[in-house]
Point group: C2
Chain length 472, copies 2
Amino acid sequence: VKAFIESTLDRAAYQPVNPKILAELRQILGPDLVHTAPEVLVCHSYDSQDYSAMPEVVLEPTSAQQVSEIVKLANRYKIPITPFAASTGRTGGSVPIFGGIVLSTRRMNRILKVEVENRLAIIQPHVINDHLNQEVAKYGLYFPPDPSSKGVSTVGGNIAECAGGPHCLKYGVTRDYVQGLEVVLPNGEIVDTGPFGTRNYSGSALIGLVTGCEGTLAVITKAYIKLIPLPKVYRTMLVGFDNLTAMARTLTGVFYSGILPAVMEFIDNAAIRCVEAYMHAGLPVEAESLLLIETDGDAISTEIEFNQILDICKNNGATSIQIAETKERRDQLWLARRSLNAAIMRYKPVKIAEDIAVPRGALLKMLEGTKKIAERYRVHVVNYGHAGDGNIHVNIMLENDPDEIKRGEEAIDEIFRLTLQLNGTCSGEHGIGITKRKYCSWEFQGASYTIQLAMRDTFDSNHIMNPGKIFE
Amino acid sequence: VKAFIESTLDRAAYQPVNPKILAELRQILGPDLVHTAPEVLVCHSYDSQDYSAMPEVVLEPTSAQQVSEIVKLANRYKIPITPFAASTGRTGGSVPIFGGIVLSTRRMNRILKVEVENRLAIIQPHVINDHLNQEVAKYGLYFPPDPSSKGVSTVGGNIAECAGGPHCLKYGVTRDYVQGLEVVLPNGEIVDTGPFGTRNYSGSALIGLVTGCEGTLAVITKAYIKLIPLPKVYRTMLVGFDNLTAMARTLTGVFYSGILPAVMEFIDNAAIRCVEAYMHAGLPVEAESLLLIETDGDAISTEIEFNQILDICKNNGATSIQIAETKERRDQLWLARRSLNAAIMRYKPVKIAEDIAVPRGALLKMLEGTKKIAERYRVHVVNYGHAGDGNIHVNIMLENDPDEIKRGEEAIDEIFRLTLQLNGTCSGEHGIGITKRKYCSWEFQGASYTIQLAMRDTFDSNHIMNPGKIFE
């Protein structure tokens, strides 16, 4: 983990958290919720990418009212606030690069209400994604967004990053499940859109701005989450291909067929070998690529669609098909899929992990282009991701060697250029944070950029809310 | 149609469109696309609610570039611009209450591309909703939002108002189908988010702000529309109840059952009688209320869900059930549903039409409360709408009598108060425009209101974009 250079450079723009301010914070929260011990600060200094930065104080408010008072104080003294949930982010959104306050949501972790008839869950921000699903499954309900971190990441964090996941192909991303929010604005005002926030422009504009804003416009203190009926059955297959063209043809076949599968995940050969070495899941290590395909819903239509997809795979050159006939096998395949990020660390010690998305129809061009770029810069690339969405996690794997790292960074620049050429986006589901600011400034230029900076000024004239994120 | 008083009161804040400005507009567009003939102006002075106001000039640009030049000129001279599509709106969004320029989108009416594999349509704003669906149906694809006006209203207008419709219960509202936008900002800059706009925060924030903004933040010049597979079959039933409690129990039963029907439309007795007198659709005129219920999808699961819902209706006190066994009967029932707005005009000459939404679980309380309020103010109320969404069109029907109209307006105020008490919203799917500004100022107060005014200032410091809409 590298220390982020901005944390020392720009901290001068803000007031240090001095003993007087700490005393005021203790008055707001009581002494137990204000932490300055180094071991606590360190635990709030990083997420799951490479840069870290130390906060000056970690706060654990228990209510929107307390958050509001913290924000007002931070405004008065000009102290940066970085909202912090499970810190599983991949782009540095929760890293306090200007020091100041880390505002942990961990004490706001309750499911307040599940309204079965309204298919609505009202929750505090720090409810773990899996926990919400375990609770609402009791009522036959389901919250689909499923980032690989779902066992530990929070729904509030998922909203702040607008997280995706394998099932977002069929069910949409986190944004599609936010019906309303209670937020604390940078001036300390508490706004609650209620459960119908998205039905009315005034609410939907605010929800649209806050979802995915990575804590730069507001702190989420409550969420009204849309739920859908839990699929009754799943059918899962693992399909191998000996060339990318056959895989792309299969994808095209499925999307021309009128089926919308729940999942179409892609894993390339390098990733297959890594995960197989890591956990022996019985993946076909000779395959050039794999598609993990799932259909879900009621028993009959799930089976019909599954069989249609099987035929499409066979007709388009699949070289192997494994069907998960038991729950255990399905769980094992999913564990393999969710372990990819950890598994590929075996490949090389340094990883530059990116998260691009291109229109499905451009996926083959993107994968072939990535290969050529890697060859040109003499680096290794491992690709996997949500093929159905065109959302690929491109990982450049490197030795810990300055020259190789430099070539890796140049290769990544090329990969982003190709992404934009193909009408894609630099950020499929991991947010922008600090690590993608540069690429987003390529993607969004002119008015679309300046208007957002102006909007941020409108919300937060003192720039106290998670400064340094999203925009360069 | 009443003339809107603001059109004369506040026009002084803007520059009149004088001959010099007309000459400049003719230079931008050529003479054929600049209209000042009274018969053209009149045609662009109203939508489908009660207030009208005359524009000074009607422009018909053919490209984003022309729109940009118009907007720049309007900024230079301080002339209001009201974007105008099919003007089927219900809240006055396209009525030019401050005069100035009406910017008609009618010459930007092409479907630019349908990308089957990407399930994407790229369109100009003035494509008619039904035309888009006819075109994409050729590829087995579907754009679900279906306002009653879909035969004449445009997709650009649907986006500007974030239109809903009966099928939005299962499929979501217009916002859920906007993947990207090209817009002209109030300073004349053209921003194109591309087809992946919603996957990246920078794009999604802009799309979220523009969708539903009723032309107050930008002019939509191109849209990237998400499509889904066209359902293969439909099954439709018309279910009668002799009391609202049984109907509410049936709704609850369906939502507890884990089924998500495509459509659950509600019609009350007064509306049934009106539409029956209007078109003799064979509705049961004795019923206290009707639910028009539809399931859709593949043949087998559609039938299974249909039969489950039939059982739920029977077990919860339905007094009559008609099943549409032919396409003709289904079409007739839908024609009846879509004719309600016109049909109820037979009831009384003056109608105050509102569009509230409450959580499904509060629907019975809302309908009973509405009845009591109508009794208290001695007015007649006709209710219909999207019961599955809790979205009810409350229509107060009045004689053309000042005292009765005053009582009607007081009753509407009460109905909105009840809506907010029940955690509902003042605008389910018709936007805010001019007719709901007052009620939205009740719903959104304090920071949520001021921040939006500030955001509008950020976009449009000269207040040229559709002034007087949404905010009082």
